[in-house]
């Protein structure tokens, strides 16, 4: 009985689709294109993983657009966006300087963003050096 339950659970997890967006592609998108991409993927029940950080204003725009799109089939998203600095607080001076220069010349803070439909993901938390996704 226990085995059957595990198989069913694993089959359910097999259907989980992850859409990866590399840094180079993401930074070339306009603000509207970024939001549209995230909305499209999450509306299609996919988790989108972006190799970039969404700055606070982009996060606010995304939340606003998600709210405008909520209906009986789409209840919103769970998300997390962070930079490498959020996980490397104990760096020495040279490492921090190197990271600042990389961010400056690339024009953007390197990081990661995970956004998934609220119908699939119950909660995403940072605790504080681990990302935890609680699935529904």
């Amino acid at each position: 009985m226990k085995n059957t339950k595990r198989i069913k659970k694993s089959r359910k997890m097999d259907k989980l689709a992850l859409h990866f967006v590399p840094f180079d592609r993401f930074i070339n998108l306009s603000g509207d294109e970024k939001t549209s991409l995230i909305l499209k993927q999450t509306r299609d029940n996919r988790i989108i993983i972006i190799e970039s950080y969404l700055d606070p204003k982009e996060q606010a725009v995304l939340i606003t657009n998600v709210m405008s799109n909520i209906d009986s089939k789409y209840s919103g998203v769970e998300m997390i966006s962070f930079t490498r600095h959020d996980f490397q607080k104990e760096n020495d001076f040279m490492t921090r300087l190197r990271n600042i220069l990389i961010d400056f010349f690339s024009g953007r803070k390197a990081g990661l963003t995970i956004v998934g439909p609220a119908s699939l993901i119950k909660k995403i938390e940072r605790d504080p050096e681990m990302i935890m996704l609680s699935m529904k």
Binding site: Q59, T64, S68, G76
Partner: protein, 211 residues
């Protein structure tokens, strides 16, 4: 997140210099059910004897901006006139079925969900009108959530002074140190808005921040 440093202090001093006689727009932001309206009511009751809004366990009870204007708060002989602005809880999702769990019928739940989404949009738009913000967090919960990070990041980007209010410190599970260590660059004040615990400490911090 970078430190709330020179730029924020400069903006705050600039505002204080030119807008000394003006009423301060004090916003209350946070995720749902953090106790924003309880805190707004406590502040308003202390100085005007009137409440701002209805408090409930049902998420998104506050679905519109609620204001209490001309609230005069006093501390050590100083006075500050504020427009207290209680905002709907920020969230990244709103599911009408969450309201049904509170025995609200389907039609009303769907209506509440629609109003809640509009409330969140309105709360985000109002960020630009704020001159100081109390970012309310539930001290019994993990503070490193995207909603908290988005609120703090947006306030920092706009140069708006912010005080983190760690609410519900009267509860056994409350962990003030967890919030302090998650956001070492901010002023954190532990309070219980419901019990009135350390509200005086919050008033003191507001004065220190804006004057």
């Amino acid at each position: 997140m970078s430190k709330q440093g020179f730029f924020s202090r400069f903006v705050s001093l600039f505002r204080a210099f030119f807008k000394k006689k003006k009423k301060l727009a004090l916003g209350i932001y946070g995720p749902t059910n953090a106790g924003k309206t309880t805190l707004a009511n406590k502040i308003s009751m202390d100085w005007t004897g009137e409440e701002v809004g209805i408090v409930s366990n049902v998420p998104h009870e506050t679905r519109q901006i609620q204001k209490k204007e001309n609230v005069i708060i006093k501390q050590d002989g100083k006075e500050l006139t504020i427009n207290l602005i209680d905002t709907p809880g920020i969230a990244t999702k709103v599911d009408y079925e969450d309201f049904i769990k509170f025995k609200i019928n389907k039609k009303e739940s769907q209506q509440r969900a629609r109003e809640a989404t509009q409330g969140i949009i309105e709360a985000i738009k109002w960020l630009d009108n704020m001159e100081c913000v109390l970012a309310v967090m539930d001290a019994t919960k993990n503070p490193l959530t995207q909603v908290n990070l988005t609120i703090l990041g947006n306030l920092e980007a706009r140069g708006i002074p912010v005080i983190i209010v760690a609410n519900k410190v009267d509860l056994k599970k409350a962990n003030l140190k967890r919030i302090e260590s998650a956001f070492p660059q901010y002023k954190v004040v532990g309070v219980s808005a419901r019990e009135g615990k350390n509200i005086e400490g919050l008033y003191k911090t507001i004065f220190e921040t804006v004057l």
